[in-house]
Symmetry: D2
Subunit: 309 residues, 4 copies
């Protein structure tokens, strides 16, 4: 029977060295944190891995945008499945609107009157959202009519990314690198409202089946698939279900604060997905209970240090 080993820390040690210490604990949170860094390192180090990232919750507004951009540019992420909100916030930032510091105890009726909308302790100006509507309309106009009649969300987002002036936006980088961003819930976001509004008077047909075909193909053609799951929601499940055609992903890490007992997919342990054929086997899986906006930057830093060694 293997033993638990304690963590030793030393001023100036790297995150990857700390993660190695934590992996030697083997159990509880530290063991899982250490394993998460190792699994992510292996994905980063192995060109055969198609790395699929799912994001739900305030990943972009919570400050992780540049980290995602950096990973895409380094070819360390090969597909993203996201909520509509994260796309919306990437576009808002691309249009020059910054998120504002608020408080979780702010009075929401007051905020409404001031033209501010709240995500926990972070604020967005209504003006920014109005600006987004206008920009979205202009960007849609510039998409050839033929394309608009039957478009996947990843194609639409490539189009937007190609038109955005902010070359450091996630959409822009993804567009340049032809890395697909899938947004199966695009209809359910501020951006989605703009698309729907536009569609009332102009031809625009979004076809999610095209998205799914693309995602299934990516999965099917990959030698190995690694899932990096930040938060739960539809993005998590979507990555997993698309991989059922290849017999499941080969490795996965998930970081979530959701709990399993309620039976929802968001908080479900990765192991459950094995019984559905969405994950291959128990090796190379780890669930970290915690806030993805805190843990993912740290884990990524550790994995980047390890990679290429």
């Amino acid at each position: 029977m293997p033993f638990v080993s304690p963590i030793n820390i030393k001023r100036g040690m790297t995150v990857s060295a700390l993660a190695k210490q934590m992996e030697s604990v083997r159990v509880l949170g530290p063991g899982r944190f250490g394993r998460a860094v190792r699994i992510l390192s292996q994905m980063f180090d192995d060109q055969d891995y198609c790395k699929m990232l799912s994001i739900a919750g305030p990943i972009i507004p919570g400050g992780l945008r540049n980290i995602l951009v950096d990973l895409v540019e380094k070819n360390l992420i090969n597909a993203i499945v996201t909520t509509g909100a994260n796309v919306t916030h990437d576009m808002l930032e691309s249009l020059g609107h910054r998120h504002i510091v608020g408080s979780e105890t702010d009075n929401d009726e007051m905020l409404r009157k001031k033209g501010l909308s709240r995500i926990y302790d972070l604020l967005v100006k209504q003006k920014a959202i109005e600006h987004l509507e206008i920009s979205t309309r202009h960007m849609l106009e510039r998409i050839p009519l033929e394309d608009r009649r039957n478009i996947a969300t990843y194609e639409l987002l490539w189009q937007f990314g190609g038109q955005l002036k902010d070359k450091k936006s996630l959409l822009s980088v993804a567009s340049r690198r032809h890395m697909p961003i899938f947004c199966p819930g695009i209809f359910d976001s501020m951006l989605g409202l703009d698309l729907w509004t536009y569609s009332q008077l102009n031809p625009l047909f979004i076809n999610p089946f095209k998205d799914f075909s693309k995602l299934v193909n990516l999965s099917y053609e990959a030698k190995r698939v690694g899932a990096i799951i930040l938060g739960g929601g539809m993005p998590k499940h979507h990555v997993l279900i698309a991989n059922s055609y290849r017999g499941g992903v080969d490795a996965a890490i998930q970081i979530t604060l959701d709990r399993p007992e309620g039976g929802g997919a968001s908080g479900a342990p990765l192991e459950e997905a094995i019984s559905w054929g969405k994950i291959k086997r128990h090796d190379n899986l780890v669930t970290l209970v915690g806030d993805a906006t805190v843990l993912f930057p740290i884990i990524t830093l550790g994995a980047l240090e390890n990679a290429g060694k």
Copy 2:
């Protein structure tokens, strides 16, 4: 300053009487439970309320199907927004497949070999899922080609509901009563796989914009809208965002185990939605921290007792 009053219970008292006792606590969980029953009672009692129910998590497989059916038949629910999973499980049950009792510690690789898939401690036979694929194909065939070329999910589900032989299924009852069931994430479910597979060789275009138009119209035309939010996910947000065109819902209860600090929409307090114009004001809102599959049957029973008094 109002005071906290203690709860008194007596053998044989009704749930509504208990809820009244709990409302008098005013604070903490009991106060919120009591208010939830009162708010739901008011929605049930007021014909002017358009009651929109959102469901995420194992509401149907967790045993609440007949409760939903009953509420729809009594005209106490006027629209449902659901995950694809809940539709899938309603259809599985309609085809005669029952859910099986398992354990959350079951070995998932073993289950996979036995042809069983797991949701926490509940099992589904893979055979049932294969049966669903065949049935879905047959049901799709029977939908007129013209309808299939541009169909909303609520229309598709009415079509399925009309064809199902199980007259007590949620889809069937919704179809008979022309109560729309919206499924914005239908692509992300076992049923969604079947639809996608079908669409590869046959004409089938699902148009989520049609769904959103219908949902917005329902909201817009209602004198009052009440949201009943079980779990988070896209269904929760979808009900709220669709109501932003009318200035927000008038009353809402949500039951969830998700927590707010991560900043995701699922765990966000209802108050936050006021700043987005998705909820009108602080009155008539209540968030219950807990498992919806446990609390909703109890709250509903209490509200049904109150209604019509």
Copy 3:
């Protein structure tokens, strides 16, 4: 393999009838809720069960005081292990101080200036706490010096209970009925501060070993022991560890919002305690994820209805 059965509700049905419906679900939250009612019913119905209740969190200030009093008077609770806070609040209420309705977004520096202290959305007057200090001193004076030199917390609380004029307080009823209330963390509460202050100038030696001997004896002499665990903390663990001398409790229900993954005792599943010899076996155990101040009144009502049938 047993099947999941759906819940059917009917206006006017009792909580125990609803619980029976929910037990037939067998899985997820409803199955656990139903089992909790059944297990509690069995404890209530069987005179051979020594029922030990542990309370942590705002059980008394949250409005459950009369429920506990009622159970003690009916001989349905035979020992209580509590945090110091719940004793403090029982005494505050006994002295005529009521809890005040506040809000979880109240400004705490402002509250401090106004002489109000906060527990989530509930407030206590500092004046009440000062009153408690004086009363505690008077009550201590009336305890014979000899008793004070080596006193268990259950003896101290019987003394207080005997002196309180409020005959409906938990301490008072426990004192009259000679039902022990153990408070292993009494030193860690507002009441504890008063005891410590008194002990600086007067003879007062609290001996927790005497408490533990009494608790172990109760456990040892019982034909059967049933644990009812509301919240986690030291009270939960204390009931369980005291029962390790008899080979563990025979039945247990716990209601908690704490989660297991962090490895703390509060959120640990009851099954874990089997490996420590604190619980006998897997039968008759159930953990309900939820707020004890909401669920315990409902479960108790259901169990009272069943009992004696």
Copy 4:
């Protein structure tokens, strides 16, 4: 209004540099993580701060023992308030018993038969616990009778620490450096059982009032007090309540997975303690939602890097 700034990471950057990036997010988890590192750095850097650490949950068995030892040796922790379990596990390790790697799905009846006890996915041999009982008895024998008649837990633990041969145990280091370890819930642990057993036939009177006097004095005499709160439970509350005599602590960080809505002290936000006079004001407070065994090593590493700059 201040703005949210994104995080930039770079291979090889230190944890303190990453924390600075995260602090610039200002909101959500990253902002809190960054602030936690800064506040801890300030405590470490300021000799006037009396640093009080509270630990609940598997801090020692989870691998953090050497980190605590290191901080105590560097004089960066000046008092510890702990659960009995953490003391028990420090002693077990000091006696040469290592923790074993298990699984959270292990069968507990089987483990019991094999003589193994479980904490989530970590195992302890019953033999080790029996060994602890014998060792504790021997160590108690060596404590002068006069001391045993009225001993505080911190004095008892100094005695044990002085006798343990493992010079790297937390108790041993604390004893050598005369840093007090308070254990208000010592009666509620495996070690507590051993103490109680011993007390049945031998003179041993533990006096928690002596502990509290010492803790209050430490707090009262300090120029500044900083609280580092890992997990909730009695240790958290004990540090805070002892500081109410000086008007509250001056700075505090807490890391917990417990949630606030249930109203228990474990999950309560630090701000609430301001209304009780246990914390001075809103500045220099931060609550991190997460697993302390994961986040504390990382935060400590970051703070150590900053300190002394």
